[in-house]
Structures are given as C-alpha cells and as structure tokens.
Symmetry: C2
DNA sequence: ACGTAATACATCGTATCACGAAGTATTCTA
DNA sequence: TAGAATACTTCGTGATACGATGTATTACGT
C-alpha cells in the first residue's frame, strides 16, 4: 500500500489496537497486520510519539521472566479516534471528487 | 484536515483536477479547494514531482500577455488514479477496523 | 492616478515521519 | 543445538507539506 496513504492511518490503527485492552508492541503488529503492514521500527516510533503526545501511557510489566511494555490508551487517545471519524467525511468527499473526476467541463 | 491524512490524497487530487482538461497552477488550487486545501508552495512542489515521475507533461502558453504553464495528464497519470481506486479497498478495510474497534476481546 | 487585490509562478528551509538495517536478549521448537 | 519466534531499541535516510519570501503582471475601486 502507498506509504503516503498509510501515514494518516497508522497512528489511529495503533490506538485502535489498544483501545479495548492494553497491549504491547509485538502483539499490536500482529493485530493490525490483517489490515495494515507495519515494521517494528515504525511501530515503536509511533508508540513513542503517541506517548509524548499524551495519547497513551506506558507500564512495564514482567511476563514469563521477560519484560513487556504495556500501552494504555488515554482519554486524549480516544478523542483522537473520534476526531479521525469526523475527518473521514472530508476524506470521503475527496474520494468522491477523484472517482467522479468531474471537476470542470 | 490532518496533514498526514492529506498526504496520500494530494497527488491524486491534482491529477484529477487536470484529468478532463489541461489546467494550470492557480486554477488547480481553486478547483480542488472545495475538497482539500493546498498552499501554492505545496502545489508547485507536487506538480514538479508529478512531472518528474512522468504522470503529467507541461506546456508553457501565453494568456493575456502572461505566461501560464499548462499541465496535461499522461497515461501513467491516469493509471495512478486507477491504482488509487484499487487501493481504496484496503483503506476502507482499515477504516472499518478503526470504527468497529473490535480487534481483540 | 494610486493603492490594493487577484493572478501566476518559483525557491528555500524546516519539521515530520515511515522504514530498512542493525543490535540486544530471551524462549520455544524441530 | 541451531534457528525461529518473541520483544524492544537506535540510527540514518529519503520523502514531503508548508510557511515565508520573492518576482511580475493585470484588474478594480476610489
């Protein structure tokens, strides 16, 4: 999929992946994989960014003697998803413009 | 509108704006404005990029004693629009993932 | 006549960001 | 016992939207 098209979707996909249940890096990648491909370096960059923006919080926890970083969505994170839904109307209007292609005569 | 979300749409919007009829910078901005905002610096950067990629060709023409650069879509440009339509299925599947948010239990 | 907006195009620098490459370390499995 | 899977991290790079700024002409209001 076109990298530019992905840009506006990745953040929201990550937030969606932790929306119902706290999750961790490796699992997030596997969960979103059916919908969108994401490399590890991309994911961890995004997680860092979302943390700095206050859209999620992090908690380190031990699991089978291995450390895992669990990510938890914040209210601002949930808001971000809602904003995305709002913006989708604009996106669809652009899509309509493109498929019709009747910009001028 | 979110700048990241715009990224995958701008190129295709510009191509759509010249699809039916050759057009020029200033007019393109006004034509796509109802759907998506685009600054001049952005537009001319895009036009340059699309030209270098062979998605459009340029022809300079005089209009009222002023030079205008008319942009004409190529076959590759039309293909680009078709590819976009194909990719839209993936985009919609991602959108569904986000609005449902039922990634795990 | 004069200033301001509109038309029309161009360049530069900056900040953001996805990703490949490479690295560290543990656990599971053939 | 080697390799795959799990789990996280850092670095460098290329792509790119945009504000700021500049140039030049035409149209319009007063």
């Amino acid at each position: 999929m076109d990298i530019q098209l992905k840009r506006g979707l990745l953040d929201v996909c990550v937030l969606t992946a932790i929306k119902n249940e706290d999750s961790y890096g490796y699992k997030i990648i596997k969960d979103v994989k059916p919908y969108i491909e994401m490399s590890e370096s991309t994911l961890y960059t995004i997680l860092k960014r979302l943390e700095l923006s206050g859209l999620l919080t992090v908690r380190t926890s031990e699991h089978d003697g291995r450390l895992r970083k669990y990510y938890h969505i914040t209210k601002a994170g949930l808001m971000r998803i809602e904003d995305f839904k709002e913006e989708w109307r604009e996106v669809m209007s652009i899509y309509q413009f493109v498929i019709k292609g009747d910009n001028n005569g």
